[in-house]
């Protein structure tokens, strides 16, 4: 009696296991689904994908991770890659793949929709949106006109202990390259050494917005979209953290570009090209602009959330192509000891 009950339990367990196996997760396996390797914030890209699905009937599946992790994954996967679109938060990831000849050329009308300085040199990736580096400041602790005029000033002793930065963010590495290009490698190294001595290293960009807001630091080196995201959740009026655009072609006014590419071995090239075209179309760019703090790059589409008109940002002249894969910045940071 006892034994037969246990046997039934064993059999029941087997059945359960079989049914679980049958229902094992694996959605991307559905035929015809477009797989997007996505490192951009989910909200805007999912809004874009939803609009694309509605318009074309093509289903979209996401794999989310950081841009370098996904890029390395595409390298490792080689011709087995399931990725149809690589949507990268940072251009450095796209350049890395372009340098390894792992991207397919994009149709001419896709790259033509976006100004050339935001695209890959070989027309194998296209910029979609951009963010601007800014100084966040706590309006109760410091007046906007007392802020440093250049990002270079933060290495000076008068700013010791007053600011936060995120040295191990991919975007920050891009800024390090901009400093290198505009001021030279030695100056960049001295600047990083100063930041290490003066600043508080934060591992998360959103955490820096909150740290400025509660006055833990007066300033933070951050991109504007993180402030916009917090403002959206909590209400801009309630925040003591404010945004200051440095402008003046300063390396601290760098624009970082998010873009997309089609991996060379993408299984659904035709559908991927339709998605790329949609992402840079007027309609797609409007969807992105509504959902994100990032600024659409297609001329004529205006972000409803932008704090300052795109044309008047006066950003750093260093382009995504010049920034490349930012490997030199990582070397510099390691030499200085912040990475």
């Amino acid at each position: 009696m006892m034994l037969s009950r246990s046997r039934r339990a064993v059999a029941g367990g087997g059945l359960l296991l079989a049914s679980l196996l049958g229902a094992a997760p694996g959605r991307a396996a559905e035929a015809g689904t477009l797989t997007i390797y996505n490192s951009q914030d989910e909200g805007p890209v999912e809004a874009l994908a939803a609009a694309f699905e509605k318009k074309t009937g093509i289903k979209v599946a996401f794999r989310d991770n950081g841009a370098p992790a996904l890029a390395r994954q595409i390298v490792d996967e080689g011709d087995h890659t399931p990725a149809d679109i690589f949507y990268a938060e940072y251009s450095t990831a796209l350049v890395t793949l372009a340098d390894k000849n792992l991207l397919a050329p994009l149709p001419g009308d896709v790259t033509a929709a976006i100004p050339a300085q935001f695209n890959g040199a070989k027309h194998d990736w296209v910029g979609v949106t951009a963010r601007s580096f800014v100084l966040l400041f706590n309006r109760k602790l410091i007046a906007e006109d007392k802020l440093p005029a250049s990002i270079m000033d933060l290495a000076k002793p008068e700013w010791a202990g007053k600011f936060a930065y995120n040295p191990r963010a991919a975007a920050f590495l891009e800024m390090v390259v901009a400093v290198e290009k505009q001021k030279g490698t030695e100056a960049a190294k001295a600047w990083l050494t100063g930041l290490k001595a003066n600043g508080k290293a934060f591992p998360k960009n959103t955490a820096m917005v909150l740290a400025v807001d509660r006055g833990e630091v007066e300033l933070a080196v951050n991109a504007d979209n993180y402030w916009l995201a917090v403002a959206k959740e909590r209400g801009a009026d309630t925040l003591d953290a404010r945004v200051h655009y440095i402008g003046n072609k300063d390396p601290g006014a760098l624009l970082t570009v998010s873009g997309l590419a089609i991996p060379k071995f993408a299984p659904h090239r035709a559908e991927a090209e339709r998605f790329a075209a949609y992402a840079v179309s007027e309609e797609g760019q409007k969807v992105l602009a509504e959902a994100a703090g990032d600024v659409p790059l297609r001329p004529g589409v205006v972000s409803p959330t932008a704090l300052k008109p795109f044309a008047s940002l006066d950003p750093s002249p260093v382009s995504a192509a010049e920034i490349g894969d930012a490997a030199s910045a990582l070397d510099l940071e390691r030499a200085v000891g912040i990475n």
């Binding site: 064993v10 959605r27 794999r63 390395r72 994954q73 591992p203 959103t206 990582l330």
Partner: protein, 530 residues
């Protein structure tokens, strides 16, 4: 009848074990297959790290290893591990002594309550604290949050040891005039060493490989730095070099524990009835002791639960993304259930092989998982990605590969839970069935398995709970589109969206934490009874 059988098996185990184990192969010969598979898979992470080091060459590896950043990480990792371990030992031992040995009012209630924080995954409590105040960010806060999460791992074995201790020794010490502190220090504490060292090993290893809560609380250790390097660098060498240091650290801790435990033996010669301990009188210390335990539970359990309730009530106003939440529950439960069944099955074959067909290979395969258990999930996951793409690209990004990682990471848990159950099945039962002409696989199915069913289900449950919480390997290996509760909690809370994160956190506690508490306490009871 059953008792006679058990004592017979006990006799056999202690006495003529060689005879009992020699030829009785109720464990069919194909059991060697999982042994080989486990041995090969367990070697992969180590091979991966070596491979990456070889790829950047000696100079490149040395440059990555001996940079100032590594030294800073080493310092903070050791600081965290030492502080949390020490804190857990103090809190866990003090609580165990109060509950087991003092005249504290309501001891039977405390006995249930004190280990209850096991039900609160550290990722959830870190989230809850962080959403209350950013002051918990940093080392001190992390130590606080993690001691509150980890102390039950010291409390449980120490409480069991205090219960099982022969009071005669303490009576002798008292009779020669030793005071209560001296008795604790000279007589009780040495007997607690095995229980303590088990707890210390567990907590220290947890701290070395812990990731989610530390990343949320902004404490940099090797694990968070490995993840950052993985997220930042376009080659895998930096992450691999940091992993090498971490692996070395974990091995050191395990070796130290072996040395510490190996030298001491505390057992009673006679297993006769144990006289009850006379509870120590707390006197004036009663109120502070009572308040201390209450505060402990308030911080470890009350506060996170209250914060979750707060965010959930707040979130009710906004629309909850029910579809997304339900799909996360579905993904979590499916993956954890499949993983638990696979892990337990492999664990069972290892345990059976080790008990029924000894031999070097079996011993090695039984121990190897414990080494892998000391590795961070991320390293295991990266190794699997690397080799899978080269050897079996079909499996890449499938549930199957994720399940392999789960099994590798959690085999020791299944083995630990299964071993006592298998030990209790007298080999004679299997021998009789074999002698009567049943095929070995039928003996396994009809004799062995039904007899170890309780242990089997406890092991499955235990692994299931751990898998529900697993984050790092899942992040890397999950099939595209799969989002588990832990992944959602991680994604939302690292963007500081506390309201959005709260439902996932609450579900994680309900689905994984509550049964985890139950299973661990049950297991402890069963061990205590043996």
């Amino acid at each position: 009848m059953a008792e006679a059988a058990f004592s017979l098996s006990a006799l056999r185990r202690r006495g003529s074990s060689a005879l009992a184990r020699r030829g009785s192969s109720a464990a069919p010969s194909w059991l060697v297959l999982p042994l080989v598979a486990v041995a090969l898979l367990a070697a992969l992470p180590l091979a991966y790290v070596a491979w990456q080091a070889a790829a950047v060459g000696w100079a490149g590896s040395a440059a990555l290893l001996f940079r100032p950043f590594t030294a800073a990480l080493l310092a903070s990792t050791l600081e965290l591990a030492a502080a949390v371990t020490l804190g857990s030992v103090l809190v866990g031992t003090a609580a165990a002594w109060l509950v087991e040995r003092s005249d504290l009012p309501g001891r039977s209630v405390w006995r249930v309550l004190v280990p209850l924080p096991l039900a609160m995954p550290a990722l959830v409590s870190a989230f809850a604290w962080l959403s209350l105040t950013p002051r918990v960010e940093g080392m001190a806060g992390a130590v606080l949050v993690l001691v509150l999460a980890e102390y039950p791992l010291v409390y449980l074995p120490v409480a069991a040891a205090l219960r099982g201790m022969d009071p005669a020794l303490e009576d002798v010490a008292r009779s020669v005039g030793h005071g209560p502190w001296r008795i604790f220090g000279r007589t009780v504490l040495p007997q607690l060493v095995p229980a303590l060292s088990g707890g210390v090993l567990l907590v220290t290893l947890h701290m070395l490989v812990e990731f989610g809560p530390l990343a949320l609380l902004r404490v940099e250790t090797f694990t968070t730095a490995i993840y950052e390097a993985y997220e930042l660098s376009y080659d895998g060498a930096a992450a691999a070099m940091l992993s090498a240091v971490l692996i070395a650290l974990c091995l050191c801790v395990m070796a130290a524990e072996l040395l510490l435990r190996g030298r001491r033996r505390f057992s009673r010669a006679a297993s006769g009835a144990i006289a009850a301990h006379a509870p120590a009188r707390l006197g004036h210390a009663t109120l502070p002791a009572f308040a201390g335990l209450a505060a402990l539970l308030g911080l470890a359990l009350g506060l996170p639960v209250a914060m979750l309730a707060y965010w959930l009530l707040l979130a009710r106003r906004a629309a909850l993304p029910l579809d997304r939440i339900l799909s996360a529950v579905g993904d979590s439960v499916q993956l954890a259930a499949l993983g638990a069944v696979l892990t337990t099955a492999v664990g069972l074959s290892l345990v059976l092989a080790a008990f029924r067909r000894r031999g070097r290979m079996a011993v090695l395969a039984e121990r190897l998982p414990f080494v892998v258990h000391a590795l961070p999930g991320l390293v295991v996951a990266l190794a699997l990605v690397y080799f899978c793409l080269r050897v079996a690209p079909v499996l890449y990004q499938t549930t199957a590969l994720l399940l392999v990682a789960y099994a590798l990471l959690f085999l020791p848990l299944a083995q630990t839970a299964l071993r006592p159950a298998v030990e209790q099945v007298p080999p004679a039962m299997e021998e009789v069935a074999l002698a009567l002409g049943r095929a070995p696989w039928r003996v396994l199915l009809t004799v062995t398995l039904p007899n170890i069913l309780p242990g089997l289900s406890a092991a499955t449950l235990l692994v299931f709970m751990q898998l529900m919480k697993e984050l790092t390997a899942t992040l890397v290996l999950a099939p595209t589109g799969v989002r588990t509760l832990a992944m959602e909690l991680w994604a939302q809370s690292s963007q500081m969206k506390y309201g959005t994160a709260a439902p996932y956190a609450a579900l994680l506690v309900l689905v994984s934490g509550a049964p985890a508490y139950w299973a661990t306490v049950e297991l402890q009871k069963r061990r205590g009874r043996r």
